[in-house]
């Protein structure tokens, strides 16, 4: 063989060995929008895939009418010993290959969450196709049940759910957005704890309504009797579900874990007799500073909260143009925030879960002492006290100086 021939051979080998050989046409793929992970009674895993039916989603192509005649997604479940087995066994049931790189959200059933997330995490980190940027959501019951429910008016429930968490954590910050990646980080941190939002069907509904939420009929109504919504925060410790926090407690935890972006704070008007009058500010920026302090017997966490907001709504009858009124309102905001944080903190201490990541802060601040604290951190955590200082500022009270209904 000539030298040139050898050179070309080397080139060809280079191509063949290093080239991409996973060629697959788009119409040979079932793109999944959401995955559900459940632990069954017989100790097997059940993986549920919400696959996107492209032709139902994109209208006007290929001559088909598409659109409303068919739901945009289809859910099917596979029972198996491992996740990968589920992925492989799914080929027994589907005509196309399951493609999970575009998976936006993974639902975790309650039992699976209690059993532990390490297997899921391992799968996500090991598999090249699965992305670590998938949003995690815990469900109270079976994840596969929730996968089947539609989220009108969005056609793709999985994508919509991910967007919901995204927007919520951006605009409201009650429930933080947790990606698999964040979960991995928390499992490797000192606190080994994290809070994950819980999605549920809410509303008063009977069996009929539950069935309807799984069918296209739900799109025919202007308001579905049952709705998918984020309701709680599930706190995990060492990868296992430990308990739930309600909305307000979760907000408190969001403050403590510095996950507040924008938010809304409703607070009572100060010293106003009679009816319960509430005002509301839109938080433009919230800055939480956590400084661990060491006292003789335990640690104290100094929580400095700085809030800047716009007064959006008030029914207080006081004159807002006066500085004192603004100061009074700011004081009320501070009180409200303090109480929110305390509620969340109380619940965390009750559960004994350090979902705020205080362990890492103390480790970083007192690296030498950490060695001794580490062993009985659970006890130490319960001893931690909070020293909350809220500095709330109403930056823009608005041009309207007095409430319309005010007498003075």
């Amino acid at each position: 063989m000539s030298q040139l021939g050898r050179f070309i051979l080397a080139l060809v080998i280079l191509f063949i060995l290093a080239g991409c050989w996973n060629r697959v046409e788009l119409n040979e793929l079932w793109v999944t929008a959401a995955t559900g992970v459940d632990m069954m009674d017989d100790g097997q895993w059940m993986m549920s895939y919400q696959i996107i039916i492209p032709s139902a989603l994109a209208s006007g192509t290929g001559g088909g009418t598409g659109g409303s005649s068919q739901p945009a997604s289809h859910v099917f479940s596979v029972k198996s010993k491992t996740y990968n087995q589920a992925l492989s066994y799914s080929n027994l049931k589907t005509s196309r290959q399951i493609y999970i790189a575009h998976n936006r959200v993974v639902f975790i059933g309650k039992r699976a969450a209690e059993k532990g997330m390490d297997r899921l995490i391992d799968f996500y980190l090991r598999n090249t196709e699965a992305r670590e940027m998938v949003t995690m959501i815990v469900t109270d019951g079976l994840a596969s049940d929730l996968l089947k429910k539609l989220l009108p008016p969005e056609k793709l429930q999985g994508v919509a759910m991910a967007e919901l968490v995204d927007k919520e954590s951006d605009i409201l910050s009650v429930f933080p957005k947790v990606r698999v990646y964040d979960f991995v980080l928390s499992m490797n941190s000192d606190s080994k704890s994290i809070g994950v939002p819980v999605a549920e069907l809410t509303g008063e509904g009977d069996y009929q309504d539950v069935k309807e939420a799984e069918s296209l009929d739900v799109f025919k109504k202007t308001s579905a009797p049952l709705k998918l919504a984020l309701t709680k925060l599930a706190v995990f410790q060492k990868g296992k579900l430990k308990g739930f926090l309600n909305k307000e407690e979760s907000l408190g935890v969001s403050y403590l874990s510095q996950k507040i972006n924008n938010s809304e704070i409703s607070f009572p008007c100060s010293k106003q007799p009679g009816r319960e009058m509430y005002s509301s500010i839109l938080v433009n920026s919230a800055n939480v500073k956590l400084t661990p302090r060491k006292t003789s017997s335990h640690y104290t966490m100094q929580v400095g909260v700085k809030i800047n907001g716009t007064l959006n709504e008030t029914t207080c009858t006081k004159d807002i143009s006066k500085t004192k009124t603004i100061h009074d309102l700011e004081e009320e905001i501070a009180k409200e925030v303090t109480s929110t944080i305390n509620k969340g903190w109380a619940k965390l201490q009750e559960l004994g879960v350090d979902a705020t990541g205080f362990a890492d802060r103390i480790h970083r601040r007192f690296p030498r002492e950490w060695g001794t604290v580490k062993k009985d951190w659970d006890q130490e955590f319960k001893k931690i006290e909070l020293d909350i200082r809220v500095d709330a500022r109403i930056q823009r009270p608005g041009l309207l100086q007095k409430h319309i209904g005010s007498q003075t």
Partner: protein, 538 residues
Amino acid sequence: MVDKLKKWLFKQPSRSKNGTSSEPVNDKKSTELSKELSGTLKDNVTLLKQEIGHSTDFILRCLNDKQGNPVLAVGFLQGLIDQQILTTLLEELTAGIRNGDLSDRNVESWLMDRIPIGGITCLKNEKALIHAVLYGQVVLLVEGSTKAFAASMSGGAKRAVEEPTSQTVIRGPKEGFTEDISTNIALLRRRIKSTELHFDSRIIGSYTQTKVSVAYIRGIADPEVVKEISRRLDSINTDSILESGYIEEFIQDGVWTPFPTIYNTERPDTVAGSLLEGLVAILVDGTPFVLIAPVTFFRFIASSEDYYQRYDLASFLRIVRMASFFLALLLPSFFIATTTFHQEMLPTTMLITLAAQRENTPLPALLEAMLMELTFEVIREAGVRMPRAVGPAISIVGALVLGQAAVQAGLVSAAMVIVVSFTAICNFVLPAINMAGAVRLLRFGLMLLAGLFGLYGVLAGLVPILVRLVSVNSFGVPYMMPLAPFYTSNMKDLFVRVPWWKMKKRPKMIGDVNPVRQATEQESFAEQAGEHSRDPMA
């Protein structure tokens, strides 16, 4: 091994072999015709008749004196002569004979003095005589003289100076070169009225005897380049040159690359601009396309209009063109690669839309793209070749049948039609047709690589292309010149064009001999006004 491959891949055609070969192609006559002219009119007339006289378009007229003895013969090829001038010439000649002005002795001086023609040359041998006839001159043979005279009155059917069709501009001169080299030279002369503008003419092609003229501005053009171009032109030994494309292929560098290393243009203003930058132009008789060398890659992205429009708009359009170049080269291959190998790179909604479109398409994306691209190439070619009258048919077939109907029939996906048509449009943005052709060729290769190896393949295709681009020279100037090797000074006229008053120097390495283009104190009036502005409040 690599060296050998390099040698094999990049070897230049050996010119020395052509240059040293002393045997001309089909040039037997040149030796036979080197004789001196005979002193008798009869012999010379016989010679002319023998050589070309049997053709019907060759006209030979003998003029007799009062005694009936032939004194003068006029010979010319009918179609190449301006009939009007010929009439005046013949009138003058016959009048001269009738009046007896033309006697045997003073015929030569009489001709020189009295003939109402600008250029008249003296021919001394047979070869020159034949050439003069073939070049559209009128030859005058005089009894008893060993000299013949050629009066240049070339005329006949000639295309007028028209707007160039291949390179149109919105703003800028609308005249283009014609097929006639003397007209073309005149067009250039009219633009550059300088004694430094030189035209070196030579004749190439043993049958076609094509006049090829090398134009350059002495003092700006690199003499080495002029010498090299002349050398390469002289080494061409062929029987025909019918278009400048022949010359281009004979003398160009970088044979093993689809990228052109010689620019061609129909526009005199482009040639003038290039000459003033120190480039050399090669004009070929019989074609309106003038070659310009040496050129770099970026000249093919620029349009002559860039220099006539406002600099900001010109810069913007140049960047658009640059982007179009990459899109035209890479868009289909990127589309194929991402949709068949790297689905994770697409946004979810886009993936679903594309997947929905592909739901009913039978062919894999690569084949689909190939099919559409080839279809487009066919349509394009048909559009160029077909008679004007059937123009609408092509657009109907192209747009409706192949675009709309193919999608509805489920043969190709709508996205592919968009990709292919956008690629095609991007391709048309490139002002130089030969560069657009290079892009078209490479696109198919890259598509194939994308379909087989994904983005890895695209990259593996792009690397050799880039390596080749930076290794090619055009008459000693590196092809990617202002970028590799990097010249900061040339950046003013690369991706953007700075205002004219900022471009004080000619591009380096091309116009190195005489670098300064305009006075260094040249500045915009805006700047001057800033210094001397009147204060309205004062």
